[in-house]
């Protein structure tokens, strides 16, 4: 069995200073988001509009997708449909093979992470260079990204320096961010110039125009798409929005929620291929239509991948993205991934205190913590919890259904804790590892009430 969130989180936390730094860094991003959002008096209105546009779109998805396809084709874009990750990868591979291309650059796309495109292509002997700085760092290290906006946020400057020393031959021990960034810049510049094919993600696809928008801060999507003769854009089908004017809602929310910027440095609008360029769009389902059919979870598809829920989540900040063992971590990942593989991801909806911060920070009003609660019910009803937990819960439910038994159990527990504290104050009691047990009172409230109040 693969390690679960709780175990991976424990490993992460074992490095106390790294955990504090990770927590503080992401909290700093959350605070930047707060300041940016405070700057817009219409913030809550924007969230409501964004939510309604997405709800409407999800309810009319097939129409908008067909509209998009029609307009994109009219613009000269080649449109592909992929039912799952494998089909997506095969389509991309097919295009690469047809052109007999070896040099490929890719800007950030969580969808290609979800479909494991790099892995697939490398099995075919094709190397893809990730051009987002953070993604390039984790790619060198053969690690998955730990955050959908800040892929290398789990690493320190020193670790980046070591990685670059090994792969880019930078000076050993030089941890200066400017020096390291410049080295990456030179390295990536060569890759851009050499490349014949660029893969990008899609932030928004517009049904009315058949165009799409890609948001980056590094301009790497543009560098790739503008130098290569073939551009493939991969998108999950929920990226569709009806009209170009709706960008005025989403672009204002996206960067403010993600990093506290008013807008991403580059918001690039692609409408048609350049002369002699080939432009492809791969529209991917990969479990999304199944999620759309789950009444309780469909609105998770409103997500615009800003990661505000990551940055606000007190559990994510202290456990790191890799503890979620999936492409999309954090609270949103914990409601998306059980749909992809319920058994493998049965632990994720439980990696939360249900504090509700994610739901309230979400720019498109996804009721994330309520869906976490609902996934727990589904996972239990599918029998995906341990028999020990099941037995314990059954016992508890039985005790709480029988007032006399409840009182007896309470008295016994208090009596035991008082007379034989070592029965609970020991290593088998997880609570006691790092916490004292509550002090046992002389009587329960009910006993006090009967003695003092009951006439």
């Amino acid at each position: 069995m693969n390690p679960k969130h709780a175990d991976l989180a424990e490993q992460f936390i074992a490095d106390g200073s790294r955990t504090n730094w990770h927590d503080d860094t992401l909290w700093f991003v959350r605070e930047k988001r707060d300041k940016a959002a405070h700057g817009l008096p219409e913030w809550e209105q924007l969230r409501e509009w964004a939510s309604q546009i997405k709800n409407h779109t999800l309810s009319n998805l097939s129409n908008y997708l067909e509209q998009f396809e029609e307009h994109a084709k009219a613009n000269g874009i080649i449109v592909h449909w992929a039912a799952d990750g494998d089909e997506h990868n095969q389509i991309v591979h097919g295009i690469i093979k047809r052109h007999n291309i070896r040099k490929i650059v890719k800007s950030k796309s969580m969808l290609t992470e979800e479909c494991h495109l790099n892995e697939y292509l490398s099995h075919q002997g094709i190397e893809v260079v990730d051009t987002d700085l953070g993604e390039r760092i984790v790619q060198f290290r053969k690690e998955p990204p730990s955050h959908i906006v800040l892929p290398a946020i789990h690493l320190t400057k020193k670790q980046v320096s070591e990685t670059f020393h090994e792969h880019l031959n930078t000076e050993k021990g030089n941890n200066d961010p400017q020096y390291l960034t410049e080295a990456a810049r030179q390295h990536l510049r060569d890759k851009f110039i050499e490349s014949d094919l660029a893969i990008t993600g899609v932030n928004f696809a517009i049904a009315e125009t058949g165009g799409f928008v890609v948001c980056t801060n590094e301009g790497n999507a543009d560098m790739g798409a503008h130098t290569a003769n073939v551009h493939i854009a991969s998108m999950g089908f929920e990226k569709i929005i009806p009209k170009a004017e709706h960008l005025s809602v989403f672009l204002r929310l996206l960067a403010r929620s993600a990093t506290g910027q008013p807008i991403t440095t580059y918001s690039s609008h692609f409408h048609k291929p350049r002369p002699n360029q080939e432009m492809h769009i791969v529209i991917v389902d990969n479990g999304r239509s199944r999620q759309l059919g789950r009444a309780d979870f469909r609105n998770s598809l409103k997500c615009i991948r800003c990661a505000a829920c990551f940055n606000t989540c007190p559990v994510y900040r202290r456990s790191g993205g890799h503890s979620y063992h999936t492409a999309v971590a954090g609270p949103i990942g914990s409601i998306l991934n059980p749909n992809l593989d319920m058994k493998a991801n049965a632990d994720l909806p439980f990696a939360s205190t249900l504090c509700g911060s994610c739901t309230n920070v979400c720019p498109v009003k996804i009721d994330i913590h309520e869906q976490l609660w609902k996934w727990r019910q589904v996972i239990v009803s599918e029998g995906l919890v341990s028999t020990g937990k099941k037995a314990g819960m059954k016992g508890m439910a039985f005790v709480f259904s029988n007032p006399k038994l409840y009182r007896l159990a309470g008295r016994m527990a208090r009596w035991t804790m008082k007379i034989f504290p070592f029965i609970v104050s020991n290593k088998l009691n997880v609570w006691y590892n790092q916490r004292e047990m509550p002090e046992v009172p002389k009587q329960s409230f009910r006993e006090w009430y009967l003695e003092n109040k009951k006439k």
Binding site: W27, S319, S357, A397, S401, G410, R435, F445
Partner: protein, 252 residues
């Protein structure tokens, strides 16, 4: 006005002084309060673990005990939120719906129903406010830092009526303490780390007490404080609002 007092199971067993303070406070404010003797639990521990399907008996017992009151009041935002969202008894739908509509967390009952404007309470200590999440974000007891709306706080409004009290918020005003029900044992490492971080911020403020509207958060924080041999104590908001004289105040 007939009020049913719901004392959540772990308060009944481990923190009776919170129940006593709640009852005394309501009675001082002129309420006629009954404590139904056969009550047990709201059902949240099972439901939050994914076992809401096991709650039929627990829910039925709750409905039996709490039907027929004008209001039900409990000193716990978390249990009240659970009841409001999930209590159901298929054979007594009307009664369970009425309970969902009339169950109140203590502080919102004081501010919204009784409309309390002053309290004869006195508590001369520096108190750090821990904003228990379920009451705050679930029941809207106060505004929150995630939302861009004017700030308000029902618990703070009441605490400000207490004589001699000095209030403070931690640097991260409304971050979760990490209790989270069974999360506190199944995700022990994260849970304890979250609690320690809350405590560090209160410590930096030099508080004497940490208060909250959920004893579950406080039980978790108390466990860590005691292990650290900290001088900071925990106290439920009901105990502060009911406290008469700080000089003679002691744990019951």
């Amino acid at each position: 006005m007939k009020i049913g007092l719901f004392i959540p199971c772990y308060i009944d067993q481990f923190y009776p002084q919170v129940g006593i303070a709640t009852l005394e406070l309501l009675e001082k404010l002129g309420c006629s309060v009954t404590f139904p003797l056969e009550q047990t639990c709201c059902g949240q521990p099972m439901a939050n673990s994914g076992f809401s399907g096991l709650n039929k008996g627990c829910d039925a017992n709750f409905v039996t005990n709490f039907s027929g009151f004008d209001y039900i009041v409990a000193p716990s935002g978390s249990c009240v939120l659970h009841l409001k969202e999930h209590l159901k008894d298929e054979s007594r739908r009307e009664e369970s719906q009425k309970i969902r509509d009339t169950v109140y967390e203590l502080t919102e009952f004081l501010t919204d129903v009784l409309k309390v404007e002053n309290l004869k309470a006195d508590f001369s200590y520096k108190v750090g406010i821990h904003s228990s999440c379920h009451g705050q974000r679930g029941l809207n007891l106060s505004g929150m830092t995630e939302r861009m709306l004017p700030f308000f706080s029902k618990p703070e409004q009441l605490l400000k009526m207490v004589g001699g009290i000095e209030l403070s918020y931690p640097k991260r005003k409304d971050e979760c303490c990490g209790f989270g029900g069974t999360f506190c044992v199944f995700e022990e490492a994260v849970s304890v780390k979250m609690g320690k971080d809350r405590i560090d911020e209160h410590e930096a403020n030099g508080v004497d007490y940490i208060t909250a509207w959920d004893s579950s958060c406080l039980m978790h924080l108390e466990g860590i404080l005691k292990r650290q041999k900290s001088r900071i104590k925990i106290i439920h908001i009901a105990e502060i609002l009911n406290s008469r004289n700080s000089a003679s105040y002691k744990k019951i």
